[in-house]
Symmetry: C2
Subunit: 149 residues, 2 copies
Amino acid sequence: MKELKIPLIKDGTVIDHITEGNAVKVLHILGIPKTTNVVSVAMNVKSKFGKKDIVKVENRELDPSEVDKIALIAPKATINIIRDYEVAEKHRVNLPDEIRGIVCCSNPTCVSNSKEPVKSRFKVISKDPLRIKCYYCEREPEDISERII
Amino acid sequence: MKELKIPLIKDGTVIDHITEGNAVKVLHILGIPKTTNVVSVAMNVKSKFGKKDIVKVENRELDPSEVDKIALIAPKATINIIRDYEVAEKHRVNLPDEIRGIVCCSNPTCVSNSKEPVKSRFKVISKDPLRIKCYYCEREPEDISERII
């Protein structure tokens, strides 16, 4: 017996093609481990293009702000919405040209870090490798994944 | 097709009966995501005693200090060592009466946090719920899992 049968998920979301090693960051974006949903994760598994991570969450469909955050750390990820055991929707994450309200500027004196009601705003200056620049103070954060709000 | 066949691991470790929601903390103890080993995780799955998490790591056997740290956050965990697809060893984690060098004291002025060559040392004063007390300053850390070194 060299195989194990596991039930497919009936309803939920499969996030595939996550950059290897980034599954734990995806879990944090999804607010896991605070969830009670069944979650399964595979890390460093072989794929056509090297290695990848996969995250499956039962009984949950992601909201757009979660998908936007995942795009920042796993730009090649695909989101598969499962309904009644079938892939009902499949789409790639998409890096927009501008990122608002989901990354915190690394400049402590930036207006987006002040008490003013100003949401953070970044221009995407390169998608691969990902580089973003603050719209207000022009600072480029180094480790973007550490600065996701 | 409501099942998925996944290959069993040939060699490695299965950490079962992890307290639900604590799989991510176990991953951090194991230095994942910095590993390149294949890792799979199931969270909030049903078990005889409610819900649990499971972590499987291929091609790796845990060292004793890792097992001691896991005991702190998942006192009911079992460690299964897999060799050639078979469970070669199975043992429960064990909370010792004294914990040395793996938890950082929450008292910033404790001698174990000074520049002196003094390793942290705690007495286990209750196993369920887990309560530990610093041998040097008698401080009881509140969130032990946040203080694992």
